[in-house]
């Protein structure tokens, strides 16, 4: 009957640490890394002039009204 609490605490403290690290890793690879990749992908093939021409044609720009 000795050390029952110590044994349980050791087990659960390790478990808590692993679960929290797991949650952090899950967030990093499910949210943070995809977000970084999404931005990198967007700017890899980004054409400023093409985007500008599209907005101009749509008539949303004050400084470049559509002809």
């Amino acid at each position: 009957m000795r050390g029952l609490l110590a044994k349980r605490m050791r087990f659960h403290l390790l478990g808590a640490f692993l679960v929290s690290m797991g949650a952090a890793t899950l967030y990093k690879f499910a949210v943070a890394e995809p977000r970084k990749r999404a931005y990198a992908e967007f700017y890899k093939h980004y054409d400023l002039m093409k985007d500008f021409e599209a907005m101009k044609a749509a008539g949303v720009l004050e400084s470049a009204p559509p002809k």
């Binding site: 478990g15 808590a16 640490f17 679960v19 952090a24 943070a32 977000r35 985007d51 500008f52």
Partner: protein, 227 residues
């Protein structure tokens, strides 16, 4: 601008805002780890029947002092990195003055010619179809894309604050003081912001709209307006 139920950041349009988003992800990850840890331990304590009469536990005391200090350092280092990055000497291509009034903004482009104008919110009754309520203005701030812009912010009467979330900019407008900030718009677009310091009855009705266009177009616009 934000969607109606949006509680996350708006899409970043400047390198600093991208860094801030990544830092926020990092901080939220740390907060998630801590909350999970506490919740697990709390559940474990509440569902257990064993009690403790320990009065002295040096090892765990050391752990729960060192670990939080390590967490704080993990947060402080990227934070300071971005703070210093925001203050880098970046030789702006253009200087823009934003002056807060009750209840509108006025802008001055005085680098080359004297171009000044006021920017009032478009009232809802005059809003064209498809435009955004309480966010549109009669005269937008036009800036060239992919150029560092220096903004000098001040106010004429009471405190205001010039904020554009997408560009990662928020600078207080204080009467009698010039505050400087800078941004670089990565892409063409229209970026919305709102006055961010309580300034009276129409504090919610003096928005900011930054329109980022290619340099040639910006030059056309500015020469047209200053002629």
């Amino acid at each position: 601008m934000a969607n109606h139920s949006q509680f996350t950041f708006q899409d970043a349009s400047s390198p600093i805002m991208e860094e801030l988003m990544q830092f926020h992800d990092h901080t939220l990850m740390v907060a998630l780890a801590i909350c999970t840890l506490v919740l697990y331990i709390l559940t474990s304590v509440l569902t257990g029947k064993l009690t403790s009469n320990t009065a002295d536990a040096q090892a765990i005391e050391l752990i729960w002092t060192i670990l939080p200090a390590a967490v704080l350092i993990t947060l402080a280092l990227p934070s300071l990195r971005i703070l210093y990055m925001m203050d880098e000497i970046n030789e702006p291509a253009l200087t823009l003055k934003a002056i807060g009034h009750q209840w509108y903004w006025s802008y001055e482009y005085t680098d080359f010619k004297n171009l000044t104008f006021d920017s009032y919110m478009t009232p809802t009754t005059d809003l064209p179809l498809g435009h955004f309520r309480l966010l549109e203005v009669d005269h937008r701030v036009i800036v060239p894309t992919e150029s560092t812009i220096r903004v000098i912010v001040t106010a004429d009467d009471v405190l205001h604050s010039w904020a554009v979330p997408s560009l990662g900019v928020k600078t207080d407008a204080i009467p009698g003081r010039l505050n400087q900030t800078s941004f670089l718009a990565n892409r063409t677009g229209i970026f919305y912001g709102q006055c961010s310091e309580i300034c009276g009855a129409n504090h919610s009705f003096m928005p900011i709209v930054v329109e980022s266009v290619p340099l040639a177009n910006f030059e056309n616009w500015s020469s047209l307006l200053s002629s």
